[in-house]
């Protein structure tokens, strides 16, 4: 266990940035998102949740796959280079670290996504425990301990000090590189911080949300539930939930005509959009209800069915915070739970 | 560029006039109160500039007989305004004299005692600075 005074953090950042790219939460116009650190950037480690999750670091919102160039009637294809630069993601919360693991299930499974793989291989993750979790958090539901985040290095922000604990070899290597800036520390303050965080987590309104009735086996019952028809109605069909989500991994592949050639790029897509999975014949989901259902069925049923029971939600609560219609995964889980409760107690089915 | 051509260009630049717009109607000469005093007539001024015969122009009597009454400027239907050309030719002469401006003393010798006030006003406006 190491520690560093918070006032010395700029020196730490400078050191890391000297050899690697450093991504960390930066404030811009009142909003905090992950960005590349530079001198003068306003770092905000106290912000619990960045607006977007840090998944951009591995799975950018847009990335070029290859470029076609035209010379007369000859075409040449230049694939985009893979990530070669080492980089550090600093200040990632426990839920987002889990988010990466969920993305790994998708992108590192066969066939491996080489772009993603290269980025993942070159990254060192410094996680940060959640000093003051909020009412929208429910990572506990997915067995994530925000007091003891995973990653290559875990860190805790306590008072004026940042505690630092390497967890992996990569973490050790990074620690080695900055060791002269760190001091040895006792485990004790961190343990008490963990306890206080866990105490708060216990008090959070959604911490004990029940996932009963979900999971890979719930396919037909959940799919055919009449509840969807009521639930989806306030949905505006925007993509806010998907774009702030650390685990949404759907993308579209499109071409951009640069005038000199064509760039084939992929970009995040949202199952909430009417042109999602649009094909020549049209769309296989024609109503917003179906699109809405798709998102939650994917997170809570299809994904666990294909990935050893792992839900593709990490309880970060970003969608809970950002949905313009106050319509989100917690709402869905709770509505289903209430319905099944009233069913079991012989009440009326909604 | 020949010296003559250069002078012609200078005149066009100072006056802002395009002499090629002239349709040779003669309204300037018809309007001119000093017509009979002039050796080169107002409408001829335009031709002299077109033909780049500036030497003749600057040595003409007309240069100093023009009253700057602006009748030709007002009435020219083609926006050629010979009065401006004449004034520009005068400027050439004045500039040639070097740093010294035409002094009021000198002007008296050049001008007729019966010349109207307007010319003096016009001349002072032109040479004051």
């Amino acid at each position: 266990m190491y520690k560093i005074a918070k006032k010395d953090l700029p020196a730490l950042f400078r050191r890391i940035a000297a050899g690697k790219e450093l991504y960390l939460p930066l404030e811009n116009g009142g909003q905090v998102n992950f960005g590349v650190w530079d001198e003068g950037g306003s770092v905000s480690l106290d912000t619990l949740k960045t607006v977007k999750s840090p998944k951009d670091a591995f799975f950018p919102q847009s990335e070029t796959l290859y470029t076609c160039r035209r010379d007369g009637k000859n075409l040449s294809v230049d694939p985009e280079a893979l990530q070669e630069q080492e980089f550090v993601l600093f200040g990632v919360k426990a839920c987002d670290v889990r988010g990466f693991e969920i993305l790994d299930q998708v992108f590192l499974a066969d066939p491996v996504d080489t772009f993603y793989e290269a980025r993942r291989a070159h990254a060192t993750i410094v996680s940060l425990a959640c000093h003051e979790p909020e009412e929208t958090c429910f990572c506990n539901v997915f067995d994530i301990d925000c007091a003891a985040p995973a990653g290559d290095v875990a860190s805790w922000s306590i008072g004026e000090t940042l505690y630092w604990k390497p967890l992996t070899q990569k973490g050790e290597a990074l620690t080695e590189a900055v060791k002269d800036l760190l001091a040895q520390a006792q485990e004790e303050p961190v343990e008490s911080e963990k306890n206080s965080i866990r105490a708060i987590v216990e008090k959070l309104p959604y911490s004990h949300l029940s996932l009963e009735g979900w999971g890979g086996g719930a396919l037909e019952e959940a799919f055919d539930s009449p509840l969807w028809e009521e639930l989806y109605k306030p949905c505006l069909a925007c993509g806010t939930c998907t774009f702030v989500c650390p685990t949404c991994q759907c993308y579209d592949i499109k071409d951009y005509d640069t005038g000199h050639g064509v760039q084939r790029y992929r970009c995040w897509d949202s199952c909430m959009y009417s042109d999602f999975t649009m094909m020549a014949h049209g769309n296989n989901r024609t109503s917003q209800m179906q699109r809405f259902r798709q998102r939650f069925m994917h997170k809570l049923v299809y994904f666990p069915a294909n990935n050893d029971g792992i839900y593709s939600c990490v309880g970060c609560g970003r969608c809970v915070e950002k949905c313009p219609s106050a319509l989100h995964i917690v709402k869905v889980i709770k509505t289903f739970a209430e319905a099944s409760k009233s069913k079991h107690t012989g009440g009326e089915q909604p | 560029m020949t010296a003559q051509k250069k002078q012609a260009e200078q005149i066009k630049e100072i006056s802002g006039v395009n002499p090629l717009k002239c349709m040779k109607c003669g309204k300037c000469s018809a309007s001119c109160p000093s017509y009979n005093e002039m050796d080169i007539k107002p409408h001829q001024f335009v031709s002299y500039v077109i033909n780049e015969d500036i030497e003749a122009l600057v040595h003409s009597k007309s240069l100093w007989k023009c009253l700057s009454c602006f009748a030709c400027i007002e009435r020219c239907p083609r926006d050629v305004k010979p009065g401006k050309l004449i004034d520009a030719a005068r400027q050439l002469v004045v500039r040639k004299k070097g740093g010294d401006y035409l002094s009021p003393d000198e002007m008296a010798q050049l001008l007729d005692p019966e010349i109207p006030q307007q010319l003096l006003v016009s001349a002072f406006r032109r040479y004051r600075r």
């Binding site: 909003q31 009412e135 306030p234 069909a237 806010t240 702030v244 959009y273 917690v330 709402k331 | -």
Partner: protein
């Protein structure tokens, strides 16, 4: 109508009014909605119900009287329900819809454009004394919110008391209102079948102040300002999808008409293109309801684009408020011979 009946109903109305004064707008709406559902006037009610969080009520339909127990109406009911009426107009029977004064402008604009059916709507003009912005509350460092008191603003309660995991906090109602409420269009409803609850004109700022501030900057500063703001845009389309003026069945940015369907977030140009065109498409039709700014997850002041157009329209073509009338032609579908020339932009410098 026979005399006796009239007096009776008048007396009834007085009693109703007396009790009404003691009731909150919420209870009054619920009671009235139950009546209208019961007598078959309306087939459903479009309002809000309590969400999962104390500050996030959810737009909701109610089809049964007993469901209305969940109905809420308070300072967090900012959503403009006019947009939902586009879909509701396709349903059988009338929909009772709760519209705040500023929402009624949007409804009228949608009527003009044949997007909502007046005959399918029973409009209850609900009172509004300014709506709250949770982002502003959180910006005061208030987190871990458990409950909030005072969200139903009354004349003698102007403070919010907030219980959080980290202790009790308070804040002044006026300090945490939505931006749009500071430039309130007034307490009059433009269209309604009946009114419930009192409204207050909460205007305390110049609507165009920020636009003017930006206009006063150099082009370079303006460019930097918007570059910075728009750099946060994630193309989630929340602004578009919540907007009552963006009522297209299929947005140009989703269709192949202009090859403009770009979900990419690859270049700063795309955000500019999207936001300029979006603002242009709603120019002359935007009622300045402020929903775009309210829902933006990245806090981009999107209303600036709309206000700039509104300000220009007012200056160039005369004061205009979309949705204030039912005149079919708007500023961009009419003209006068003497209109200013586009060169005025360069002249103004």
């Amino acid at each position: 109508m026979p005399e006796c009946v009239k007096t009776m109903s008048q007396a009834e109305r007085e009693i109703h009014l007396m009790t009404a004064q003691q009731q909150t707008t919420q209870t009054q709406v619920v009671n009235r909605a139950k009546e209208l559902l019961a007598d078959g006037t309306v087939a459903r009610v479009l309002g809000w119900k309590a969400g999962e969080l104390p500050y996030a009520p959810q737009p909701a339909y109610f089809e049964k009287e007993e469901d209305l127990e969940e109905f809420v109406y308070n300072g967090f009911c900012g959503a403009n329900l006019s947009k939902y009426m586009i879909e509701a107009s396709k349903l059988d029977g009338k929909t009772l819809v709760c519209l705040k004064p500023c929402d009624t402008y949007s409804f009228r604009q949608l009527m003009k454009e044949h997007r909502v059916d007046r005959e399918k709507a029973y409009i209850i003009g609900v009172g509004c004394k300014g709506k709250l912005d949770i982002e502003k509350i959180k910006a005061q460092g208030i987190k871990g919110i458990q409950s909030i008191q005072g969200a139903e603003r009354t004349d003698d309660a102007d403070t919010l008391t907030i219980q959080t995991l980290y202790g009790e906090r308070t804040c002044a109602y006026a300090d945490v209102m939505l931006e749009r409420c500071h430039v309130c269009k007034g307490k009059e409803h433009m269209i309604f079948d009946e009114l419930i609850g009192e409204s207050r004109d909460t205007k305390d700022r110049d609507r165009f102040a920020q636009v003017k501030e930006i206009e006063a900057m150099t082009p370079g500063e303006r460019f930097a300002f918007f570059q910075k703001e728009l750099s946060r845009c994630i193309r989630c389309n929340a602004c578009r999808n919540v907007c009552p003026a963006c009522s297209c069945r299929k947005c140009v940015f989703d269709s192949s008409q202009f090859d403009s369907a770009q979900k990419a977030n690859a270049d700063p140009f795309e955000e500019k293109m999207f936001h300029i065109i979006r603002a242009f498409h709603v120019a002359g039709r935007c009622t300045d309801c402020g929903e775009c700014s309210r829902v933006c997850p990245q806090g981009i002041p999107l209303h600036l684009f709309n206000r700039k157009f509104i300000k220009d329209i007012n200056e160039f073509y005369g004061e205009y408020q979309a949705g204030a009338d039912l005149e079919p032609r708007g500023p961009l579908t009419s003209y006068v011979f003497e209109d200013v020339e586009p060169g005025i932009v360069a002249e103004r410098g």
